[in-house]
């Protein structure tokens, strides 16, 4: 099912390590390995018990699922209840129970706290962080205030309501936006990718304080079985594979585990031009985690860069895919049919802001350009008037920055 990539030598190491089912660390005996071997599955233990934990990430993926589903369904959600889902608290800061899942309601996590909140990109950029959070909240609110009331109205330029997309019904704003798509695809970058590429895989975070020496000496957190460094790495893993029913071997089942990074990593993997990318990400996570156990931080950081590059590329590919698809639909005379694609395209375009090019340690396009793209796509009458030429220019620019072609993406 998954084609082997031959671009990285770590594959050879992984192949050699197939006999190892898991990676176990004895707490008192330092192990020195001259060659780091990744286990067959994402299984790491200390004294026979698992050290892998990413419940906060699973919570946020599930919260994002509930939020976007509630936006799409108009089943009684209000501006207040949707914002509570985004914040997991009430407007006055007190505890809220906005989710259908009880465990989410009792979770102390929230989506909002980790949007545009990475150490590398946002620790000294709280202004932009606040602006991104506000942008997402504005979209969440607008679904309730602008679109819900027009649920039984036919949309036209300037009027929110229904459009037909084949035999499906889509619900759009007066500008043609499907807000649940803008938010859902926007969270892929602003929450999940940002936390992975610019926070949990960052050397600043992984090596914070005494993390290195603690890691070497097997010093675990209070009441925990993992070192801080192990945990940070696992939290990155959790934003890709954290909602899998089989997180130790998530790619063994074919279906997507969420509607976010996991889904689109698999979609891109399904394109023959990029086949193998899902396994590359999984293998890099495994090897980097094994490197942490072995104390090989150079190898760890190499794997981090592989993950950054691949996941950023997923976002770039999907941005181009949807912008191109929308362009084709408009050119074929099906403007309203393009709104669904374009809504996804805007969300992924915003997510470009959170990509991480290992060569430059910054996004694949200048952040100002990305935010200008989002503005150009959404200003005025939005999708009712956006020109196919603009969509073509944007997708061409994005593709060239990442180094793939539009043809590879659209096939």
């Amino acid at each position: 099912m998954f084609k082997q990539s031959i671009t990285n030598s770590f594959i050879l190491l992984s192949a050699a390590a197939l006999s190892m089912a898991s990676c176990d660390t004895k707490s008192k005996e330092p192990t020195t390995l001259t060659t780091v071997e990744a286990p067959e599955t994402y299984t790491f233990t200390r004294d026979g018990k698992s050290t892998v934990s990413f419940s906060g990430q699973t919570d946020r993926i599930q919260m994002s699922e509930e939020l976007t589903a509630a936006m799409k369904a108009n089943g009684g959600a209000t501006e207040t209840s949707l914002l509570e889902m985004f914040r997991n608290q009430k407007a006055d800061g007190s505890d809220a129970s906005p989710f259908t899942s009880e465990s989410l309601n009792s979770s102390s996590k929230s989506i909002k706290e980790k949007v545009a909140a990475s150490k590398d990109y946002y620790s000294s950029n709280t202004t932009e962080s606040a602006a991104i959070k506000k942008q997402l909240e504005d979209w969440v609110k607008a679904q309730a205030t602008d679109v819900f009331p027009n649920w039984q109205v036919l949309a036209k330029s300037g009027v929110a309501g229904q459009i037909a997309d084949g035999d499906k019904t889509r619900y759009v704003s007066g500008s043609g936006f499907e807000y649940n798509q803008l938010v859902g695809k926007g969270l892929i970058g602003s929450l999940m990718l940002d936390q992975i590429a610019n926070n949990y895989l960052s050397a600043v975070v992984l090596d914070e304080g005494t993390n290195r020496t603690d890691n070497e000496n097997g010093v675990v957190g209070e009441g925990k079985n993992y070192t801080n460094m192990e945990h940070k790495w696992d939290e990155a893993y959790g934003y890709v594979f954290g909602n899998s029913p089989n997180p130790e071997n998530p790619l063994a089942n074919i279906e997507a585990d969420d509607d976010f990074l996991n889904k689109y990593l698999r979609s891109v993997d399904g394109d023959s031009d990029f086949a193998g990318i899902a396994k590359e990400v999984f293998d890099a996570f495994k090897l980097g985690r094994a490197a942490i156990v072995a104390g090989d931080y150079e190898l760890r950081d190499q794997q981090a860069n592989i993950i950054r590059e691949r996941l950023s590329k997923v976002v770039g590919i999907r941005a181009v895919y949807y912008l191109q698809k929308g362009k084709e639909q408009i050119e074929a005379g099906n403007r309203t049919g393009a709104f669904h694609s374009l809504s996804e395209g805007v969300g992924f375009t915003l997510s470009l802001r959170f990509t991480r090019n290992p060569a430059t340690n910054s996004p694949y396009l200048p952040s100002q350009e990305i935010l200008a793209f989002v503005e150009a796509l959404t200003k005025g009458n939005g999708f009712w008037e956006v020109s196919p030429e603009l969509l073509g220019q944007m997708s061409g620019r994005i593709a060239s920055q990442f180094g793939f072609t539009e043809a590879q993406v659209t096939n």
Binding site: V153, A164, D165, D167, A332, H340
Partner: protein
């Protein structure tokens, strides 16, 4: 009018040795414009005129029934509905131009119909049938429910359907079908026909490309999947008898299937509507190009599969829902035969004609 290049090829052909190879023809030498004209004037417009007249009769029958609800008028209404539904099978595939712009097929034939939604609409008296969210609450399948599905006893149906709220809804549905049909037919006769024929190039938005894609889409999604595959559980794992077309008229689903199959095959062979004899068509286009597969003419293989599907359907009960219950294997066999033509048409034929498939499965939400 024969294009000059075609004349040269004809002359050159006579100059060749008899025997094996055909002359290498480029697809540009085939007169696409003539094919479009034949399609428009001999197939598409006559098919729409036929459907339009049937749907007008349907609306008139509705008026007769609502002004005087009786079993006799219910029978007439049922007959009119069946005729309209059969006529629909001849136009379903031409979702181009005005039909495409107004979502003609989605407003006419989305099934299974949403019986709860229909009942809600009738009780509240408040509904906007122009909304996409109401696709499954109107059209021929919704009429099936109202005319055939309100009760086992015909007098019960007459009583319910004759009551004010139901009668209003019934009238709204048939007048809407009539209006939509008029709109599409008027557009064809009022300028679209000329534009359709003139757009005889070979780009993705050309008339030939769009029509062939529509033909393929209808075959795949409505004939193969909608009528057979979905009820037989091919995509869901377990059969869904309720998903058959004309669910409330046991026995009618097979008639509709055979009509759709004939319409599809006749279009392939360029048969003028209501007549025999082949005209310029996809078949003649493929033959012109000398397209073969596994040593046989591709057009023969495609026609062969149409015939095989028809033959295989002989083993299927006229009541598809009953067949699905009793012996789904026969439905699956029919599906498999239909599926073979998907390969021949969607892959082999479209490749030979250099037409790209313009539809993909929608991205899951």
């Amino acid at each position: 009018m024969i294009p000059c290049c075609l004349v040269l090829l004809i002359l050159a052909h006579f100059g060749c040795d008899s025997g094996t190879d055909k002359l290498p023809d480029s697809k540009e030498s085939f007169d696409r414009r003539a094919m479009l004209q034949h399609w428009a004037d001999q197939i598409i417009i006559p098919s729409y005129e036929h459907y339009n007249s049937k749907v007008t009769v349907l609306h008139v029958s509705t008026d007769q029934f609502t002004s005087s609800p009786s079993i006799e008028n219910l029978m007439a209404l049922r007959t009119a509905w069946k005729e309209a539904y059969l006529a629909w099978q001849w136009v379903s595939m031409y979702e181009i131009g005005k039909a495409e712009a107004i979502n003609f097929r989605n407003f006419t034939n989305i099934f299974p119909t949403n019986t709860e939604g229909i009942t809600k609409n009738i009780k509240s008296g408040n509904y906007n049938l122009e909304l996409p969210s109401k696709f499954a609450e109107q059209g021929l399948p919704a009429l099936d429910y109202l005319i055939n599905g309100l009760g086992k006893d015909d007098q019960v149906v007459v009583n319910i359907l004759g009551s004010v709220d139901y009668a209003n809804y019934l009238t709204d549905l048939t007048s809407r079908l009539s209006n939509l049909s008029n709109e599409v037919l008027s557009d064809w006769k009022g300028g679209f026909r000329d534009r359709y024929i003139e757009n005889s190039g070979s780009s993705g938005t050309s008339s030939v490309d769009k029509t062939v894609n529509d033909f393929m889409y209808d075959y795949e999604k409505f004939l193969r999947a909608g009528k057979i595959g979905i009820p037989a559980g091919v995509f869901s794992g377990s059969p869904i008898p309720k998903a058959v077309e004309a669910r409330f008229s046991p026995g009618f689903s097979k008639e509709l299937f055979l009509e759709n199959l004939k319409a599809s095959q006749d279009f392939f062979n360029g048969i003028a509507f209501g007549k025999d004899g082949e005209g310029v068509s996809l078949k003649s286009y493929l033959d012109h190009l000398g397209t073969e597969k596994d040593g046989a003419k591709l057009s023969d293989l495609i026609n062969g599969q149409f015939d095989k599907s028809r033959e295989t359907s002989g083993l299927v009960d006229s009541d598809f829902a009953k067949q699905v219950h009793q012996d789904n294997t026969q439905m699956l066999k029919l599906y498999d035969e239909l599926q073979k033509n998907v390969i021949l048409i969607k892959v082999d034929m479209m490749q030979a004609l250099n037409i790209a498939v313009d539809y993909v499965d929608a991205d899951g939400d």
